[in-house]
């Protein structure tokens, strides 16, 4: 890196700080910190959801997996985009009408206050792990690109920037800065892609080379055989993405900032739509690296930083600095958005819920800023733990998500909105037993999954589990490469089973607020709110029909790939396109 690159990044960061301070003047009310005063319009919402979602995880880690395993990792983005459309049309309008700030707040309305506090605290902690993964990527990339190989130094730099920026501005800062950072993110991708593809000899030549050099799987959108990122992975990631788009605090909080339910739905659909072509910006450079073959790289998170550090500076001075602005922007916007979410969870769902007397606005803002700092400390701790692994951030993230996230989706969306008889005891049991089943599935199938030095307790249980169930273990250990795809089905399956059983064994609580949820399936008195869950117009009905048909075609395509059906990929991609067209019709034409 040259002094020009450092100057560009320095100016960019200074610009971020000045903008953050100016935006902090807008904060008058705690709603400004949490949901941007509920004033966001569709484009800003679309940009802020996309920028919150995009991070170095995509450019560095998913690009790295594309380098190692091929293009099929793109489904992590594409299924996410589809889930945004589905959530925008069917879930967000109901949630937005309830005027909640977080999922735990919804859980109190639906079930009980203790459930809100327990899951709020647990979820805040879970988000800190997620943030640790993001910080790990940033520090790894920083060390690799600049040559300053000080992992803890990079952890400190990224943490300080993100915490300061998040604590100053809250959701308003996140929303406005996200829109600006979004431009830098895209710019960085637009510069890197042609460089990588040029080095690989152009896309047609790259695809031909991969197919003739034993890397055909790299070019398959839906790989048919056994493997880590095959058709089963696409199904699992669809489940995970649906969870992400419906209960992820960072995404929902952006959507709750919408002016009204229709705007919330429009923002979600727009965000999904624009990310589909953009996904190639980070997947194709990774694919190109499979041909360029960077020397001695085993950790997938090192591949893209190697490409940037080695091949950008010779083209033009300052180019690397410009691309890094995009990457830093992507990372900062994601980390700040998530720190903001943790602050919301701890303030609104734990502190406020525990206090008997209603706290003042000043107290709430103080607690929100204090919890941002605590979250920063926990995020550094988890990033440090991650430095012991060599399998990359994508696998680490999918492991955590597969184990603990899906039970929350089951109790919130599936049973929370879908079955009135569910009790808070059933929801609590489903959440914790589902998570435990996810962890057990890893322990049972891969006894040495948990490092015995870092996690001695988990490692000991894991070894004895497999030993006690020797015959069973022998029978299913062949599936260990597909664990990332199996665990989400185990954890959500357990939650799906346990929640109704415990609910039927316990008495329904006298929750005075749950009737509000059912009432919000219909349009209320708000004159700005014209979004009916079941559309009234013919165009709206056609849109929903197309969404459902597209989704079914996608599912059939992916499942048929298991049997090597030749049109599987066409059906899956065609279904996805139909779903997007239907989504746009639904939110804009009615």
């Amino acid at each position: 890196m040259t002094w020009i690159d450092y100057t560009i990044i320095g100016l960019f960061l200074a610009g971020l700080a000045v903008a953050g301070l100016r935006i902090s003047r807008l904060i008058k009310h705690s709603d400004d910190i949490f949901v941007a005063g509920r004033e966001l319009t569709p484009f800003i919402l679309g940009a802020t959801i996309t920028a919150t979602n995009l991070s170095m995880y995509h450019f560095i880690s998913m690009g790295g997996i594309a380098f190692q395993k091929g293009i099929s990792i793109i489904w992590q983005n594409w299924t996410g985009c589809m889930a945004l459309v589905l959530s925008g049309i069917f879930v967000i309008p109901v949630m937005r009408r309830l005027q909640v700030r977080s999922i735990p707040e919804f859980l109190e309305m639906r079930y009980s206050k203790p459930l809100r506090i327990i899951i709020g605290a647990f979820w805040g902690l879970r988000l800190c792990i997620f943030l640790g993964i993001f910080l790990y990527i940033a520090a790894t990339a920083g060390a690799q690109i600049t040559g300053w190989d000080n992992y803890f130094g990079w952890l400190a730099i990224f943490s300080v920037i993100a915490i300061m920026y998040s604590a100053i501005g809250g959701a308003w800062a996140v929303a406005i800065m996200d829109s600006m950072q979004f431009a830098f993110i895209i710019l960085g991708g637009l510069i890197t892609l042609p460089v990588a593809i040029h080095l690989a000899g152009g896309t047609p030549s790259l695809i031909h080379w991969l197919q003739t050099h034993g890397k055909t799987v790299h070019t398959q959108l839906v790989p048919t055989g056994m493997g880590e990122f095959n058709w089963l992975f696409v199904l699992a990631i669809l489940l995970i993405s649906t969870k992400w788009a419906t209960v992820d605090q960072a995404i929902l909080q952006r959507a709750f900032g919408a002016k009204n339910p229709r705007v919330g739905a429009q923002g979600m659909v727009l965000s999904g739509l624009i990310t589909v072509p953009l996904a190639f910006l980070w997947i194709l450079p990774g694919l190109a690296l499979a041909r360029i073959n960077p020397p001695g790289i085993t950790n997938p998170d090192h591949a893209i930083p190697w490409l940037l550090a080695t091949h950008l500076p010779p083209i033009a001075s300052g180019l690397l600095g410009l691309v890094l602005c995009g990457l830093v922007a992507a990372q900062v916007s994601t980390i700040t958005a998530d720190i903001n979410s943790v602050a919301t969870l701890f303030t609104s769902d734990v502190y406020q819920a525990l206090k008997k007397k209603a706290p003042t606005q000043k107290q709430l803002i103080y607690v929100a800023r204090f919890s941002s700092l605590i979250c920063g400390a926990l995020m550094i701790l988890f990033a440090w733990l991650l430095s012991f692994t060599n399998s990359g951030a994508v696998r680490a993230n999918l492991t955590v998500v597969g184990i603990v996230d899906l039970p929350l989706f089951i109790i919130t969306i599936v049973y929370g909105l879908g079955w009135k008889r569910t009790t808070w005891q059933g929801a609590m049991a489903g959440f914790f037993i589902g998570g435990a089943a996810g962890i057990m599935s890893y322990m049972f199938i891969i006894p040495n999954y948990f490092n015995h030095t870092t996690y001695p307790f988990l490692s000991a249980i894991s070894g004895s589990l497999a030993m006690h169930a020797a015959a069973w273990h022998e029978h299913i250990k062949v599936y260990k490469d597909s664990m990332l795809s199996i665990a989400p089905f185990v954890s959500s399956g357990a939650a799906l089973l346990i929640t109704p059983i415990v609910s039927l064994l316990t008495k329904p609580g006298k929750n005075d607020q749950s009737h509000k949820i059912w009432a919000n399936f219909h349009v209320g008195d708000d004159t700005e709110d014209t979004f009916h869950l079941v559309p009234r117009s013919r165009a709206g009905k056609f849109g929903v029909g197309l969404v459902v048909a597209g989704f079914l075609s996608f599912l059939i395509g992916i499942i048929s790939a298991a049997h090597a059906f030749p049109l599987a990929t066409v059906m899956a991609v065609g279904g996805m396109i139909a779903l997007f067209i239907g989504g746009v019709l639904r939110v804009y034409v009615e």
Binding site: E39, F43, G202
Partner: protein, 45 residues
């Protein structure tokens, strides 16, 4: 057209279009929000 990298330049074109829209539209919308917030503040006073 043989030899033209449709995939690469198609993605680049999409990215540039999205970039242009996302610079122009939010600037206009933020201005409107700022105006509305000022009006709200004025009314409260």
């Amino acid at each position: 057209m043989q030899g033209f990298d449709w995939m690469l330049w198609g993605v680049e074109a999409c990215g540039i279009v999205i970039l242009c829209i996302w610079i122009a539209v939010p600037i206009r919308e933020f201005k409107q929000i700022a105006k509305r917030l000022k009006e709200k503040e004025h009314e409260e006073k």
